[in-house]
Symmetry: C2
Subunit: 355 residues, 2 copies
């Protein structure tokens, strides 16, 4: 088994180092190979996703991904910006199923913006389709407006698209995930306005018939954005398209107050996956040794479970993280009175010690 380690920019290298340390401590049989990605890859090779990096990622069973991006690349043309590496990996590896848990850890309830009674015990799994929708739909570009309010003026356009098989496969992923949880799926769309959403809703409903043990409800995206704030615990598994999933998964992550704790997985049909923390590259604190490595360490656990068939090892990591939290260690982002503040490396060491 081979893991491609793409540490990336900002805090990427330091948090990824801790996850690698934890993986090594498990003493399992897999190879790890590093490659540059994002802004640092652009600096070194002129492209955020160099050929060699993409080749490695394709060959590997799993990609452990840190983070990409820094203000200093903001002026580059879009195809050369760091985040294009992520879009390129998703597309080229066919990583259509994105798992974004939003979990509120008991010890961290106080870090949330929400009142404790609304957020304590939160455990939502957002399943976002990741290779379709308006993210990749052609045609797109700029042109002279062919019609509309101001025909002849400069306009830009993008195409939202979903085909039936694309919706079917992500719906199956959601229903199967729900079977292992509380057997409830909420499908989010905007079928009162969008053709794409109407097909989404129709197909998800059809697939639901194959999972009579799972309850399905539909919610409009604007309402979902509200209900997440009002009563987040009403949700269990949420399945939605790429664009709405981008917004709702970040909203849900921030509700927990501890985005530094949240892992993610992006899988293709062969269970190859890319695993990354839900937070970003945080260039403001890069290199200071204060970043929280737990989201990346928990992403490594997801990797063991989903792509490397090592569920026990995944459990070991997750238990170790819980123990470390229970023992009162906290990085700056989740620090509160009465707990012990530690740096990135000490946090990683503590997880290793607790394994």
């Amino acid at each position: 088994m081979k893991i491609a380690v793409l540490a990336g920019d900002g805090i990427g290298p330091e948090i990824t180092a801790e996850a690698v340390k934890v993986l090594q401590a498990l003493d399992l049989k897999f190879e790890m190979e590093r490659a540059p990605v994002g802004g640092c890859a652009y600096d070194a090779h002129g492209h955020p996703l160099p050929e060699a990096t993409l080749k490695l990622a394709k060959q590997a069973d799993a990609v452990l991904f840190g983070a990409v991006g820094d203000w200093k690349y903001d002026k580059l043309d879009r195809p050369l910006r760091p985040e294009q590496a992520l879009l390129g990996l998703r597309k080229n590896l066919g990583l259509f199923a994105n798992f974004r848990p939003a979990i509120c850890y008991e010890e961290l309830v106080g870090a949330s913006s929400l009142k404790p009674e609304l957020i304590a015990g939160l455990d939502i799994l957002i399943i976002r389709e990741l290779t379709g929708d308006i993210y990749f739909g052609q045609p797109r570009g700029r042109r002279s407006a062919p019609d509309g309010h101001f025909p002849g003026s400069e306009e830009a356009f993008d195409t939202m698209r979903y085909s039936r098989p694309e919706i079917e496969r992500i719906a199956h992923v959601a229903f199967q995930a729900a079977r292992k949880r509380s057997k409830r799926v909420t499908s989010v769309d905007k079928a009162n306005v969008l053709e794409t959403s109407q097909l989404w809703k129709d197909v998800v409903s059809e697939i639901a018939a194959q999972y009579p043990d799972v309850a399905l409800d539909h919610m409009y995206v604007d309402n979902a954005a509200m209900q997440l704030v009002k009563e987040p615990k009403r949700f269990d598994v949420v399945v939605t398209g790429n664009m709405f999933g981008d917004i709702l998964s970040d909203e849900a992550a921030m509700l927990t107050g501890s985005i530094g704790m949240l892992p993610s997985a992006s899988l293709n049909e062969r269970k190859q996956g890319l695993y990354e923390p839900s937070h970003g590259s945080a260039p403001d604190i890069a290199g200071k040794g204060v970043a929280n490595p737990l989201a990346t360490i928990l992403s490594a656990a997801m990797m063991l479970r989903f792509s490397l068939e090592q569920p026990e090892a995944a459990d070991r990591i997750e238990s170790a993280v819980k123990d470390v939290l229970a023992s009162g260690l906290r990085t700056a982002d989740i620090h509160s009175e009465g707990t012990k503040r530690v740096g990135t490396r000490e946090m990683g060491d503590a997880v290793v010690a607790s394994l």
Copy 2:
């Protein structure tokens, strides 16, 4: 001056009746004329936006709108569903500028999901473009996929589009609104992924040069959804497209915890406007006399200010609402211990008495 009163479905008629009562109590010179809209219009005339209703709305200086929608119309074809009336009015009247304030009233801080220190004093104005974007962009429909992941399979598609003049005019609205407030605008887009967003960002930046006294920042929509939860008070005026505005304005409204208090205005270039509460038709409590009429009453105030050139009358209504809240009267949705619970009509009467 003429006001078209379109009460609609669900709680629409009862909350609109209170706003009409308040308007009449002001003893100003305008005519009011009613017409059916939404599900009830479909029932009576076979269409949610009958010709006569549209004609009245076009002739009027302003439309006072209640709410549309009920579960019982869910099975109708999309063009006949109640919410199409709203889309039809926006489009036919050219109501491109949607003002959605998210205000947290001092007395209602406790109703929010958020901790009091994060929400107390919140006063955001979301300005949503309302006649463009993927809501109205052609082409759209179903077809056999011409390319993509599954060529030849059934697919649905929609087109996100914005032209330069569409973005310019809403940007002007936002900067002008900011001049009357704290002189800060946040423009929300997804320019790291979408062509449409890149043009949005470029044009908003260009227009900003004409408002050197207003500070502009740009934020990606996923980050905006997070920052609204994390630190809502960092926002003042937010300007964004139709789709993102739909999601973010509802999220922001729900943050306040008292969506029953939030009005909205949708204006065209001639300052004709449609005024409606931000909440929906709430069919579950329709006809019970418990709905909160204040969002509709405050929408009437916005109407007096924006379309009917009666700013003093608008101020009178807004002060009266504040006084009524201060006196401790509450409808069920905002009720809390130590306050007096009243019904829809009593609340309307109290506002009239406080004028």
